[in-house]
């Protein structure tokens, strides 16, 4: 097959997504980009809450539940249908879809999954090759299986939060600034994507489906094994280490010229330390007895930090980054969300991809959204289209998958199994209080020219 005619890797794979908010939609998002037909299932009383925001130009509008920025990142390229799973006829309809699908992904708690009768055993009865991804905080067994959690809860139970913080301060939640981002949701989603792909690959070899009982708590712990092993091997609970590193010094984040500008520097040997001292115009540092070896620098790290900061304070972060990198030193300007859009490296690599404009809101235009976390030379994850409107593809999918006719679909609507709009008030579309956000320090600024800036940066 010629390379240009190659299909996307997951073409022909059907995924039913019964989940909402962040982790599950985000886990499934790369599968759509890789060619799978992803069908997102919502209902009038359970629309995806992440449809809310942020609203284009911070202007809430009646159809805003189709336009939220986060929703677009997580759901572009999927199709959207509605089925009320609290209705027995809805569950029956879902099982008919399961029979002709490859993957079902859900994020219910254990209790809800059982109450709805959508366990792996039940799904396997209608489709022996089905792969079920159950993605939730604590998993489907064990004493905490019905515990409820959002992202911040996962970071607190998995041990990461108690380890994160300044040397002399309280534990800190990653990404708690601004309006907050939830790091563990993305972390859990990465594992979810992997789990589904691993199960699909295994099915190709063995013919067997499987159940993937993914607990975000466990996924979190799986990435901090160094800390866990310090306890299981030595009975030690490691302290918070701020920005420092056990075998590097100096390592820290230092102030630069400008409002809230910083540079992160990490040095792992004496030669780099001498080079750093040279670039910072502090050549005597390299021969000062307090800083001669790595253990010396670790011991006198506070003093060293003060000296480095005194020097970096007058420098522009981007200029210093270039100068230090030129000298072979790990140095990185601390970027905010605006910097990331304007970063020439990310632009070069096509990290942002435009999601096509919405048919009913062409004025929103094509906005840049981050792509899946990798580049592939032949199977570049593609943006197949924007995120689905609420229930946009209900008729289409039911026709295509189950050959249902117009009358049957009308009956489903009359029976309340499918819905055309989310029930009133089910998706909040409150604007961000931009003024308060700047005043309280949640926002550095509200950039009045962001649209022009993005248009300029991503012009073809």
């Amino acid at each position: 097959m010629s390379e240009s005619a190659l299909p996307l890797p997951l073409e022909g794979i059907r995924v039913l997504e019964l989940g909402m908010v962040i982790v599950l939609p985000l886990a499934i998002s790369p599968l759509a980009a890789l060619g799978a037909d992803v069908v997102k299932v919502e209902s009038g009383s359970r629309p995806d809450q992440s449809r809310s925001g942020p609203q284009p130009e911070n202007q809430p509008r009646a159809d805003g539940f189709n336009l939220g920025g986060n929703f677009q990142t997580m759901n572009r390229g999927k199709r959207g249908i509605t089925i009320d799973l609290t209705n027995p006829r809805g569950r029956e309809l879902l099982l008919r879809l399961v029979a002709v699908s490859d993957v079902v992904a859900e994020n219910f708690t254990s209790r809800v999954l059982h109450n709805m009768g959508l366990t792996y055993d039940r799904l396997r009865e209608v489709n022996p090759r089905i792969i079920l991804l159950s993605s939730n905080g604590f998993g489907h067994s064990g004493p905490w299986q019905d515990y409820k959690s959002y992202g911040p809860n996962i970071e607190s139970v998995d041990g990461l939060m108690l380890l994160t913080g300044y040397l002399d301060g309280p534990p800190q939640r990653a990404g708690s600034g601004g309006l907050g981002v939830t790091y563990p949701d993305v972390a859990g989603a990465n594992f979810g994507t992997f789990a589904v792909l691993a199960a699909l690959e295994r099915r190709e070899r063995t013919g067997e489906g499987t159940w993937l009982d993914l607990s975000h708590y466990e996924a979190g712990v799986a990435t901090i094994a160094e800390g866990i092993l310090d306890y299981t091997m030595n009975g030690r609970v490691p302290p918070r280490t701020g920005n420092r590193h056990p075998s590097r010094a100096p390592q820290g984040v230092y102030p630069c010229d400008g409002l809230d500008r910083w540079i992160a520097i990490s040095v792992h040997d004496d030669a780099r330390f001498a080079a750093l001292a040279g670039v910072l115009n502090l050549p005597w540092l390299a021969t000062d007895a307090r800083f001669r070896s790595l253990p010396d620098r670790r011991r006198n790290h506070d003093e060293l930090d003060r000296l480095i900061a005194d020097s970096t304070r007058a420098c522009r972060a981007d200029v210093l980054e270039r100068a230090l990198q030129h000298a072979g030193i790990e140095a990185t300007m601390v970027q905010n969300s605006k910097d990331i859009f304007l970063d020439p490296q990310l632009k070069h690599r096509g990290f942002f991809q435009p999601v096509p404009p919405h048919h009913s809101a062409p004025e929103v235009g094509a906005r840049p959204h981050p792509r899946a976390g990798w580049k592939m030379s032949l199977s570049a994850p593609a943006v197949k289209g924007r995120a689905p409107d609420f229930g946009e593809h209900t008729d289409e999918v039911l026709r295509e998958y189950l050959s249902l006719g117009a009358e049957e679909i009308q009956q489903l609507e009359a029976d309340g199994v499918i819905a055309r709009t989310p029930r009133d008030g089910m998706v909040s579309r409150e604007p961000i209080d931009a003024k308060e956000s700047v005043a309280s320090g949640r926002f550095l600024e509200v950039d009045a020219d962001y649209r022009e800036r993005l248009a300029e940066q991503f012009r073809e």
């Binding site: 970071e155 380890l163 490691p238 790990e330 490296q345």
Partner: protein
């Protein structure tokens, strides 16, 4: 005869540290046959990283190495030498996947014979900034990924420097993404016989974790930053001190169940009109911090956690690694496994994620000793005992 022993993907891992090793480990968990190629004498950097039992460094006892490498085999090979690279090419000739983190462009500089990267091979490269672009030659580490990816800017306190998360999240998650991308490429390989290049950047791995901050800028122009001390804690889902530790009130859940939350905390005065909507609670945020902050301090963490959950509330303890290692919930789910290692002994560590009825969470083989499988693997490539001895003498293996 074949060098391969399992029926899953045949993977050569080349590199050092966490990212490539963790990605290959996840593939091994699901049945891939992974041969880890290490530097003769020195081996993988993570062999020196620890933690070590009793804090005594030993290349076969590093907890991090044991965790990242169970289920694999190890050969030593100086891939920068011509004869070492030739042996690597032999290994690649019927492998499905090469996963590496040598640094941007480093793979192409190895003295591999032409055609060694054949068109069927999936090559997955992980590096700090990616294989191309103006910053691809920059040196980077965990710290740079948080800084360049934007998570650091919104972590910590406004009055202080941006803060890195603990340990090595970027490397681990680049590894997870590598495993996903390799598996995706394997479908095309199976169907059409084509391999391809996969390119993963730690910067992008971390930038994805702040996607709500990115869409906030792209849709409103707002640039999120670290919170000032004056930003209300409870409605920002910040950890709150308790009588004996810390509790995490996830406001996304508590806001929906506000009256129930106030009831659980014994605070009927917080259910009045002025607290009845999200907007009103935001106006009362400072009072809420004072009222609930004081109430949290009167109760122990475990009581708030478990009783709160019984009330259906999204309250969880900030657990230490010790609490996690002793977690009855995880023990009952068989999450922790004992790795029986010939040198390090029996070591308790996290096992396979996710839990699935088809796979044992305990690894079928422990992490390999440095070059443990040289004889076995190189013999399969047709080398005799004398050849292997000569290569060892020349420090190629």
């Amino acid at each position: 005869m074949s060098v391969w022993q399992r029926d899953g993907l045949r993977v050569i891992e080349l590199g050092s540290g966490i990212s490539a090793a963790f990605g290959a480990r996840l593939l091994a968990d699901f049945g891939a046959d992974v041969i880890k190629v290490e530097r003769p004498g020195r081996g993988d950097e993570s062999r020196r990283a620890g933690p070590f039992p009793g804090d005594i460094p030993h290349p076969e006892k590093s907890g991090l190495f044991l965790y990242l490498n169970f289920g694999k085999r190890s050969v030593t090979l100086d891939v920068e030498s011509v004869s070492g690279a030739a042996l690597l090419a032999e290994l690649l000739s019927d492998a499905d996947v090469l996963i590496e983190n040598l640094g941007a462009g480093a793979l192409d500089k190895l003295p591999l014979p032409s055609g060694a990267i054949n068109s069927r091979l999936i090559v997955c490269s992980i590096s700090p900034y990616g294989q191309d672009g103006p910053k691809s030659a920059y040196v980077g580490s965990e710290l740079s990924a948080y800084a360049s990816g934007g998570l650091m800017y919104i972590t910590g306190e406004a009055e202080r420097e941006p803060l890195k998360q603990a340990l090595s999240q970027a490397s681990h998650h680049s590894g997870v993404n590598a495993a996903s991308a390799v598996l995706a490429a394997s479908f095309l390989q199976r169907r059409a016989g084509h391999g391809q290049r996969i390119d993963i950047s730690d910067q992008e791995t971390m930038a994805m974790t702040i996607f709500p901050a990115l869409s906030t800028y792209a849709y409103t122009g707002g640039v999120m930053r670290r919170g000032k001390g004056t930003v209300p804690r409870l409605i920002s889902s910040m950890p709150m001190p308790t009588k004996d530790g810390w509790i995490m009130p996830s406001y996304a859940g508590l806001g929906t169940w506000w009256d129930s939350f106030a009831g659980f905390m014994g605070m009927p005065e917080a259910t009045g009109e002025e607290f009845s909507t999200a907007g009103r609670r935001r106006e009362q945020a400072v009072r809420i911090d004072d009222m609930f902050g004081a109430a949290f301090k009167e109760r122990p963490t475990s009581e708030l956690f478990h009783q709160g959950q019984e009330w259906g509330l999204t309250l969880t303890a900030l657990q230490s690694v010790g609490d996690v290692a002793e977690s009855e919930h995880l023990v009952q789910r068989g999450f922790f496994v004992e790795q029986e290692h010939p040198v390090a002994g029996s070591v308790k560590m996290p096992g396979l994620v996710p839990k699935t009825p088809y796979l044992d969470r305990t690894p079928d083989r422990p992490a390999p000793l440095l070059g443990q499988h040289n004889a076995e693997v190189f013999a399969e490539l047709g080398l005799g005992a004398e050849d292997i001895k000569a290569l060892a003498g020349a420090e190629v293996i």
